[in-house]
Symmetry: C2
Subunit: 188 residues, 2 copies
């Protein structure tokens, strides 16, 4: 093992690959915006919470604070180009929902893109700044899922990897996905 | 798309797969403990921060609060059984470091398992409870990496997927890894 005591964490790609999600939010003119977010994680079972870390420099930061609701969208690997687009272009410059087929949340005014295999409808539960990003914590009030790319396990939808695969991010605009043939069940 | 307005998020496996890390911490008797943590994410570039979400029910919760330092360990897929072991057994019942070859951090008193391909040496920067888990935020002071399973990009180590692969968690004791043949560079 070697080590670094001085480093630029902007190049800390050693922590990847990991799952990238897309944060959706409406502006005051009912235009949907989408931002890819590689720093994301579930945070609580009860209440069900999901966190997305967003830089204050991003337009999405102000949109989420204003709307107090957002969607967390899980895109399939075949739509990686959309994920890269949502991550590199800004709301300030382009209408990122122009080519997105979407519906609205059933409980909250959040965009539900139909290309996603799952979408969490979230109300803003809390937020806290850690360093140069702010963690927005959403309470999940509705789980949307594509019934054609999921199956039921314990009465809950689970992604069917033989039908769709998740988008993993490797850093620097590079994406990949999983190999379902490597699945190991270690809790038989 | 279908949706659920009532659900048990303990079975919310639709959010997986994602990268699972292992949190390492020493107790007051210098015994190392390791706990797998699927709810984890980077949180800031400057200062470099990494968050791990831990239930107050876990022994690791008290160990981290007491020690105020921990390691975030990235295990290779070939060691998935260790990750499952670290996630299902408790410090209270077994010595989880008994069969782990490890060294100590160079700046902090944290365990560095030699089976990991990367380890972040973290001091406790902040922590905050969201729902039924607490997010422990570590400031990364040293990045350890296995020079035989990484290569350099922008003077920083990057995992060489042809040599080692990350451990992704699918829920319910099921693991898998990535398919490096699917790599897409979308920012050429």
């Amino acid at each position: 093992m070697k080590y670094l005591t001085e480093f630029n964490f902007r190049r800390g790609y050693i922590i990847y690959p990991t799952l990238v999600v897309v944060v959706g939010v409406f502006d005051d003119n009912k235009r949907a915006n989408f931002m890819s977010c590689v720093w994301n994680t579930a945070l609580s079972f009860e209440p069900p919470l999901y966190g997305v870390s967003i830089s204050p420099k991003r337009a999405t930061y102000d949109l989420v604070l204003n709307k107090k609701a957002f969607s967390v969208c899980f895109y399939p690997f075949e739509k990686s180009k959309d994920v890269e687009f949502f991550g590199t272009y800004s709301y300030r410059d382009v209408n990122k929902s122009e080519n997105v087929n979407l519906t609205k949340g059933v409980k909250l005014d959040v965009p539900i893109p139909l290309d996603a295999y799952a979408v969490l409808e979230c109300s803003l539960f809390d937020y806290k700044t850690f360093g140069d990003h702010t963690l927005f914590v959403g309470e999940i009030v509705v789980i949307h899922y594509d019934e054609n790319s999921t199956y039921n396990l314990f009465e809950m939808p689970v992604l069917d990897l033989n039908k769709k695969k998740p988008v993993l991010y490797l850093g620097n605009g590079i994406y990949l996905t999983v190999d379902e043939k490597t699945i190991l069940n270690l809790r038989k």
